[in-house]
Symmetry: C2
Subunit: 213 residues, 2 copies
Amino acid sequence: MQISELVTRSGVPLATVKFYIREGMLPPGEATGARRAEYTESHLERLTLIRSLVVVAGLPLGRARRILEIVDEPDDDVTEALGKAVDALVDGDAPSDDPSDVEEIYPLASAAMAALGPEFRRPTRHLTAFAQLDDALRAAQEVGMPIGRERLQLYARHIAAIARSEVGDLPMSPGEAVRVAVLGTTLYEPVLAALRRLAHQNLTTDDHSVSGL
Amino acid sequence: MQISELVTRSGVPLATVKFYIREGMLPPGEATGARRAEYTESHLERLTLIRSLVVVAGLPLGRARRILEIVDEPDDDVTEALGKAVDALVDGDAPSDDPSDVEEIYPLASAAMAALGPEFRRPTRHLTAFAQLDDALRAAQEVGMPIGRERLQLYARHIAAIARSEVGDLPMSPGEAVRVAVLGTTLYEPVLAALRRLAHQNLTTDDHSVSGL
């Protein structure tokens, strides 16, 4: 297809398409003449992925580019590729991967892990989510609402069940697995958060009194 | 205590304490002389709550003030107070509470609710979380990763179990329930998100292969 059709079908403005090509995020079309180039379905797919990352997931351009690089040249090891991609989602630098003093740097997350099941062993690298857990536990503690061991175990049990079903559905090719994992992490998180708020609302209305549960 | 002690014990700078008093978010101390005022433990608690909302939960000042108003004068009805408080957490205006054309405005969330259990009936007011669910489902659909009925039912089952335990632990007084609900919504959400990412990481490492689950 010509670039005009790519623009129409993707809904992405011409100037933006050209910008992604200049930035190396979208490959150029195949030249078919002095001023003409041919684009394929894979260009359209790539453009949809870029827009998902930038517009839907709201990632800054630099982080979207980093994820495209991982999709393009994933490690042979899916785990490693997934770890890098999810690290790239988070604000700021990923924490150091040196695990030697993890318990000192992340005391709350370390203590939490010790109380949880095998899905929650301390990671040996890609500590971003571990650092995020430590921050979140500290914030709750600071306002006098620490999360107790029982509550944490209940959270872990249900979240592990959710995560198991998600991982079970992951495609096997590393590039595709990274794409699904990155978008799934970003896009399904707000679904889970909204469902929790809706359940809270319904559970506190009169005809769903707490005692009736 | 004097204001200097309030500053020391809260860790909030003097200028910031005075600002909160001027803004009506923190009540003034009781005057004990021309230039002296006495502060109590309840001032310290209030200051901790303000800092939780502004610094820990990261709410803009206007939204923090709105929540303080609800804590101060909650409806007699806990549900109503909770609904208003959680509405105040979200960016932008809360959606209209007119439910007459809900299915037209939020088609994806409406369809999702129809597939789920009694914890997820469509709310009749305070539609913020409902709008959030509709947005999240649409975003997933747009990138070609719609959430199927089975996945949604699995999410709902586990999230409902989490929400039930949280609501069961809620204090009975409306003001205190609002405080706990607002902070719990804001502060425990990242805990759940971090646990999900950690579970993903562990479940995709070699010694926790998917087939072994």
